[in-house]
């Protein structure tokens, strides 16, 4: 224990740099995946066949390829086509696109869970498709979508460690570098695990708070 504490004090600053990058990758890809996921979901429920199929094919394509391969593709293959992205950009875009598939399935399920009578009522007072989505469907779908969304957030936080495979020096990578240089595997990886927990526990708390907030039936 004594040794762990001295190790912790020594390596924490370096690991915290990793934490910073982990948070950056997670937030960046969370935003991207949410926006893209919403786009796919809206395409799926648009009732326009071309959009529906495009989104469907895209989502299944993304779901069928491992995230790590998608990251390699963006970071190592795209430069051959003249699109050079930094490791950080590649990580955010790669994880964002990969997770947009899961986000979209979640959003779509939420949207389709809303009673069709809601759409008809909105139509009957003259609302168009976009306004129905914005004013009637999405505000109600949030309640349904939120618990799985929280889980996706936590999964994304953990999967941000895959960015290490394309040289982003986030938490897992920093841990591995320190461990292989010092052989202090136990101390270092314990700290890494604790730091991930410290990030995901508040997320879990936030999700349960939000669930309670929306469960009251009020906005």
């Amino acid at each position: 224990m004594q040794r762990f504490l001295t190790d912790a004090a020594e390596y924490l600053p370096i690991l915290m740099q990793g934490v910073g990058l982990t948070i950056l990758v997670t937030i960046g890809s969370l935003i991207l995946s949410t926006v893209l996921g919403l786009v796919w979901a809206l395409m799926r429920v648009s009732g326009i066949k071309v959009l529906d199929w495009t989104a469907k094919i895209f989502v299944n394509f993304i779901r069928g390829v491992p995230i790590i391969v998608q990251l390699f593709y963006i970071y190592f293959v795209l430069p051959d086509m003249g699109i050079a992205l930094s490791a950080m950009q590649s990580a955010i875009i790669g994880l964002g696109i990969a997770y947009s598939a899961y986000q979209s399935e979640n959003f779509r399920a939420g949207i389709q869970a809303i009673d069709h009578g809601q759409i008809e009522a909105a139509q009957s007072i003259g609302m168009g498709w976009w306004m129905i989505m914005r004013r009637v469907i999405l505000p109600q779908a949030i309640r349904i979508v939120l618990p799985p969304y929280g889980n996706i957030m936590i999964m994304m936080l953990k999967d941000s460690s895959q960015a290490s495979t394309i040289t982003v020096a986030e938490l897992a990578m920093q841990g591995k570098l320190i461990a292989s240089a010092t052989f202090k595997n136990t101390s270092v990886f314990t700290m890494v695990a604790i730091l991930y927990l410290c990030m995901s526990l508040p997320l879990m708390y936030l999700v349960s708070r939000l669930e309670k907030h929306y469960a009251t039936g009020r906005r």
Binding site: D115, G117, Q118, E120, A121, A122, Q123, S124, I125, G126, M127, G128, M131, R135, V136, P139, Q140, G217, R218, R219
Partner: protein
């Protein structure tokens, strides 16, 4: 004001409307009755474009109802709908349900829309429920809010699709009373209903439909008291004397 001419509608192989024609004048109150599956609700849903029709024509004044055209928004502003299952927006208060259309569809200033909304709530007897959410209201109260929501669009006509069928029996009266007061004020109404006594008292004209066509129509009091067609007689007997 509303003219349906030889309207046909199929759901797959199910031919629901087989040449339905009628015209509804301004201020007229028409009740449509008939067995379930006869196409009554489909008629209403075609009139405001919730359902597309396959053949024939429906006109609101000069405008042809076409749900794929931009003009459908105009049609829906002019012809409101009240649903069997109320379909209030559960995430909004009673007042917000009423002002949603005026503010966001018609672009009415919020304070004016809310002032009108409060008056409409008072009119359906729910002034004190302004901030209640639909799940906190009884079925009858929800349907009265739904009627206020339809009125808030200042429509030329209101379509009622079995407005009391989803209600507990003791709540039917309060909804019918509101509808009756609308009728007395000269609102144009098309009502699909099983409330024969109400239809007889309030409606100008009754239409009995079966299998997608009009079997019999005429002045409501006459027709619903002494129908001429055997099928109408049979239906009315079964509805008014179920045992």
């Amino acid at each position: 004001m509303i003219v349906l001419d030889n309207v046909h509608k199929s759901f797959g192989s199910n031919h629901v409307l087989r040449g339905f024609s009628t015209r509804i004048e301004k201020g007229e109150i028409v009740c449509i009755i008939g067995p379930s599956g006869s196409g009554k609700s489909t008629v209403l849903r075609c009139i405001n474009g919730l359902e597309a029709y396959d053949d024939g024509s429906i006109r609101i004044g000069e405008t042809r109802v076409d749900r794929d055209s931009k003009s459908i928004v105009d049609v829906r502003k002019r012809v409101s709908m009240v649903f069997q299952r109320f379909n209030l927006f559960p995430h909004r208060t009673a007042l917000e349900n009423i002002t949603e259309g005026p503010i966001y569809v018609k672009g009415e200033p919020r304070d004016r829309a809310e002032e009108r909304g409060r008056k409409l709530l008072a009119r359906v007897g729910l002034a004190e429920k302004e901030t209640a959410h639909p799940p906190q209201l009884s079925g009858g109260q929800q349907q009265r809010v739904a009627i206020a929501r339809a009125l808030a669009m200042e429509p030329e006509a209101i379509l009622f699709d079995e407005p009391t069928s989803a209600l507990d029996p003791e709540m039917v009266g309060e909804v019918l009373a509101v509808m009756k007061s609308l009728a007395e004020e000269g609102m144009t109404m098309v009502i699909v209903t099983h409330e024969i006594a109400f239809a007889r008292e309030v409606a100008d004209r009754a239409i009995f439909m079966d299998q997608g066509v009009i079997v019999e129509e005429g002045p409501a009091r006459e027709m619903l008291s002494a129908p001429k067609q055997p099928r109408t007689q049979d239906f009315l007997r079964r509805v008014t004397h179920p045992i």
